[in-house]
């Protein structure tokens, strides 16, 4: 099994990933291993990622776990769930400075998901089911 190498980054390093202007549709999911509803929706995200793996669609998981939990908690979790998506650990404690830059509507509770491409941008502050997510991604990929 491939080991998922996690990069620890700050918001400045994350920001470009929220504003790509190529032909790809991006799903950026803010989550953490301690967030029960986040864990519950991860399989739906994984399924959608698998379904559209040959399309212009990319998933980015942004973990808000504490940095000290990286090796003891986050990495073992990803391994046990066989999650191979790109994962960042966003270690930028001054959250008040960057939450609005992700989306002014976001109050800071997770899960929080941003789906965007160069024509479209929407955020969601509830956990997804596969059907709901599939509908959105399918539509974005087919009616860009």
């Amino acid at each position: 099994m491939k080991k998922n190498k996690i990069q620890v980054i700050d918001f400045k390093q994350l920001e470009p990933y929220l504003h790509k202007t190529n032909d790809t549709t991006y799903l950026v999911n803010f989550w953490a291993t301690w967030c029960a509803p986040c864990i519950k929706e991860l399989p739906a995200i994984q399924q959608v990622e698998e379904k559209y793996k040959n399309e212009k669609f990319k998933v980015l998981l942004v973990s808000l776990d504490f940095e000290r939990d990286l090796t003891g908690r986050l990495e073992p979790f990803l391994k046990s769930k066989n999650i191979t998506s790109k994962v960042f650990l966003l270690n930028d404690p001054n959250q008040n400075k960057w939450i609005d830059k992700v989306d002014p509507k976001w109050s800071g509770d997770i899960p929080f998901t941003l789906i965007y491409n160069k024509q479209f941008r929407e955020s969601f502050s509830h956990p997804f089911t596969f059907d709901e997510l599939n509908l959105i991604i399918n539509q974005k990929l087919n009616n860009p």
Binding site: W34, P37, E67, P93, Q95, N96, K105, G108, D109, I110
Partner: protein, 202 residues
């Protein structure tokens, strides 16, 4: 053109809906009565000598909420004598996370040595009124006559991981400002936290 006007109306409606949920700074908060971990009901009118309150939505299970509980104890110790006691509230539905049960609130409060009431908002109604969405989230209330005015809402400080690395202690700064008769700046902040999961409204 007509479509554009419709769209503007829908957007305005969406914006007003988003902002009318819960209390904003300057709003009047209403009194509540909730069960404390000692089995007794607590309401804000039980504190005739308080100048205001630090209301904290917290819980038993959330690492971000837990990371702040020592700091909340310190805030209570500092500001209770100045007239601003802490009132902690757990609004999470026990069905969503068994760790957030009333019994576990008693355990958590003992474990940490809470110096303040830890109230159980079983129906989630108080949380809905305040519009709290995550733990931890604070509301600083100032008594003005019989009214309770929201002076600050948001995060406790700017570093949830490490109290030693805090650069701005938002809540303490806001409380000091109100005590000095000034307006807190900032009066609103955001932070990452665990979403509060309420029992469905009846």
């Amino acid at each position: 053109m007509k479509n554009l006007i419709t769209l503007i109306f829908i957007s305005l409606f969406a914006i007003s809906a988003a902002y009318s949920e819960g209390y904003n700074v300057g709003d009047k908060a209403t009194e509540f009565k909730l069960k404390n971990i000692d089995g007794k009901l607590v309401s804000l009118s039980d504190y005739p000598n308080a100048k205001g309150f630090i209301v904290v939505f917290t819980c038993n299970h959330c690492p971000y909420a837990k990371a702040y509980q020592d700091r909340i104890i310190a805030l209570d110790k500092k500001y209770k004598p100045k007239g601003y006691p802490v009132i902690a509230i757990n609004s999470n539905d026990v069905a969503a996370n068994p760790e957030d049960s009333y019994e576990n609130m008693i355990v958590r409060a003992k474990e940490k040595g809470f110096t303040f009431p830890y109230l159980h908002d079983e129906t989630g109604d108080v949380c809905r009124k305040f519009g709290a969405s995550r733990t931890p989230q604070v509301f600083l209330l100032e008594k003005k006559g019989t009214d309770l005015i929201v002076r600050y809402t948001g995060a406790i400080d700017d570093n949830s991981q490490d109290a030693a690395k805090v650069t701005t202690a938002y809540l303490a700064k806001a409380t000091d400002a109100v005590l000095a008769g000034n307006t807190p700046d900032p009066s609103f902040t955001k932070a990452i936290g665990c979403g509060i999961k309420l029992k469905d409204a009846k």
